[in-house]
Symmetry: C2
C-alpha cells in the first residue's frame, strides 16, 4: 500500500473547509489508490465545530482516509505536511479599511509561513485560498526561508473555472472542449480573465465570441461572480471554491494535460514584465509537481493595460505589508 499523503487544511470547520475535507478524504485529489491523512487546523473557538467535522469524517468510513488529526496548534497541524491548504483568514468586518485587512492577514500568514517552515515536509506544497490570497502567499513564502518559494501558490482556479463555465455557456460548448483559458493578475476585482488564447474544439474562441462581449460581459462577469453568488445564496461560494482547490492541487500533483494549461498565482520570475517575487496569476503547465509559466503569449495593448492594473494593485498591497517581509 502507498504511503499516505498528509494534507493540512486551515479553517477546516468553515464553509470551504467543510466542503473540501470530505472530497480530499474520498480520493478526489490524489485518486482511488492513494491513502491520505488529514490534519485539520482551526482557531481555539472553533474546536467544538471541528470535532463535529472529525466525527462526520469518521462516519463516512472512507477507505482512503487513514487518520484525522484535529488541532488548534500550528506546530501539530503542519507537522510533516505534504500539502498545506490555507483557507482560514480574517474576513473584512464592517467599517474595516482595506489596508487594515491586508495587515491583519499578513500577521496570520507570516506566522503560518514560519510554522510551515519549521514543521512541514521540506517538499511541502502550499496553496493559499484565504484572501487577500496573492499577498498572503507572498507573506507566507517570505517567512519560510528553508522552503522553495516555487512551492507556494495562491488560488485563481475558481476564477479560471468560472471563466470556462461562462465561455461554455455563451458558445453552447462543453467545458472539456475548451482549452487555454487564462486568469492574469491578482485574485481580486483587478484580475484579467483572458479568452484571447482560448481554443474551442481546437479553433480560436474569438471566432465564436467578440472582443466586445469579452470586455462588456465576460470580464466584469467573472470579476463580480463572487458577489452574485452571495446575493443568490446569502452565503459566499463554498462548494465551488472547494472544487477549485481539488482541481488546483490535483493538477499540481498529477500534471496538466498536453496542449492545455491552468491558471495559478505564483511568485513572478519577471515573466510578462511583472516585478520579480510578486505573486501573480499566470498560465502554467505542470509536470512532476513543478510548474512552468507559459512563455511567449502575445500581449496586445488592451491586455498590457489589464496586466499593469493588476500588477500595480499587487505592488500597493506589498507596500502595505512591507515591514512584515523579512
Amino acid at each position: 500500500m502507498k504511503t499516505p499523503i498528509k494534507v493540512t487544511l486551515t479553517g477546516a470547520a468553515g464553509h470551504i473547509g467543510y466542503a473540501l475535507a470530505f472530497r480530499v478524504a474520498s480520493g478526489e485529489i490524489f485518486g482511488p489508490e492513494q491513502p491520505v491523512i488529514l490534519r485539520l487546523l482551526e482557531m481555539p473557538q472553533a474546536m467544538s465545530s471541528l470535532n463535529g467535522v472529525g466525527m462526520e469524517l469518521e462516519d463516512c468510513a472512507l477507505p482512503l482516509l487513514h487518520d484525522v488529526v484535529l488541532t488548534d496548534d500550528p506546530s501539530i497541524g503542519f507537522r510533516d505536511a505534504d500539502y498545506a491548504i490555507l483557507i482560514g483568514a480574517k474576513p473584512r468586518s464592517k467599517g474595516m479599511e482595506r489596508n487594515d485587512l491586508i495587515t491583519e492577514n499578513a500577521r496570520i500568514f507570516s506566522a503560518q509561513g514560519r510554522a510551515i517552515n519549521d514543521n512541514a515536509s521540506p517538499n511541502v506544497r502550499v496553496l493559499v485560498v484565504g484572501n487577500p490570497a496573492n499577498t498572503n502567499a507572498l507573506i507566507a513564502a517570505s517567512n519560510a526561508p528553508d522552503l522553495d518559494p516555487r512551492h507556494f501558490t495562491a488560488m485563481t482556479r475558481l476564477d479560471h473555472n468560472r471563466a470556462l463555465g461562462q465561455l461554455a455557456n455563451k458558445t453552447n460548448s462543453l467545458v472539456v472542449n475548451i482549452t487555454r483559458m487564462t486568469i492574469w493578475g491578482n485574485h481580486s476585482m483587478t484580475q484579467y480573465p483572458d479568452v484571447g488564447n482560448c481554443l474551442i474544439n481546437g479553433t480560436p474562441a474569438l471566432e465564436r465570441v467578440t472582443r466586445d462581449w469579452a470586455i462588456d460581459h465576460f470580464i466584469p462577469g467573472i470579476q463580480r461572480r463572487g458577489a452574485e453568488i452571495i446575493q443568490a445564496r446569502g452565503l459566499s461560494s463554498a462548494a465551488s471554491a472547494a472544487d477549485a482547490v481539488v482541481d488546483h492541487v490535483h493538477d499540481w500533483a498529477l500534471g496538466t494535460p498536453e496542449g492545455d494549461w491552468v491558471s495559478m498565482s505564483v511568485a513572478s520570475d519577471g515573466s510578462y514584465g511583472i516585478a520579480e517575487g510578486v505573486f501573480f496569476s499566470y498560465p502554467v503547465t505542470i509536470k512532476d509537481g513543478e510548474y512552468e509559466i507559459v512563455q511567449g503569449l502575445d500581449i496586445d495593448d488592451f491586455s498590457r493595460n489589464r496586466l499593469d492594473i493588476s500588477r500595480n494593485e499587487l505592488l500597493s498591497e506589498r507596500a502595505v505589508i512591507e515591514e512584515l517581509l523579512p
Copy 2:
C-alpha cells in the same frame, strides 16, 4: 460518449443537497466516464438559494456535468429521472407531535410518489433520505402504481458507515478490512446495528469486541450519533449524509463486492419475520442494479427482540398514515 444519467435531487439547496450535488456532478457515484444531468427541485421560497447552487455548479466547469435544471415544479424536476434522491422533508418543529410530523411528510411523499410515477423513467431508482425515511419510502412507493416497488429504498447507509467507523476505531482496524456490517430496522432510535456477522480481516469481530461493548456502547452510540454531531457542530450531519448517499447509489448502480453486503431499507418480502411491504433495513447484496436480501443469517433471542422492536415502530408509523396509502 455515454448517454448522461439523469439524477433528481429534492431539497437541493439544503445542507445535504448542497454537499451532495457537487459530488454527483464530479463523477463520484457513477465514475469518471459517465456524464450526468442534475435536475434540482426545491420549494418556491428556496429558488433564489437554488439559483446560487446552480451558478456554483456552473463555476466548477465539471467535465461530466452536461446540464443542470433548476425548478420548483415536480413534473419538471422528475422528468425522465434515472435516479430520484428525495432529501427534502418537513423537519420537526417545536412542540410538534411525532404523529403530525409523520402525517405531514406522508402528504409530501405521496405527492412526490405520484409525480415520479408520472414523469420519471419507468426504471427510475428512488432513494428516500428525508425523515421519517422508511415510512416516507413506503408512502412514495405506494403512490407510484406503475413502478416496481423494489426500485424504492430508504437510506440506512449513514448508520451502516457510522457503525463501520466505530468498529474500526474500537479495534484499531481500517474500515476496508471490515465486512458484513448490518443495520436492521427503521432509520430511527430503534435501529439495530449488528456486529454479530462482522468480519475483520476475515475473522469474526466478536473475537475482538465483546457483546457487552456492543450492547452498552456500540448500539446506543450509533443510535445517538446524529444528536452528538448536532451538539458539536450546531448543525445536523450534512457532508456525511451526502457521502452515504454517494455510497448507497454507487453500490445500487454498480453492485456490492463479492463476499460483502451493505444495509438498505427496502420493502420487506417477509424475510426475517417482518411484515410484507414494510420498509425495513436489511443486509443486501446487489448485482446489475437489483438487490437481494441476504438470507439465512442466524437471529438469536437478543437480535430477535431488537428486530421486533423496530418492526413494531414501523407498523405503528404505517398505522398513522394508513389513510394515505391507496
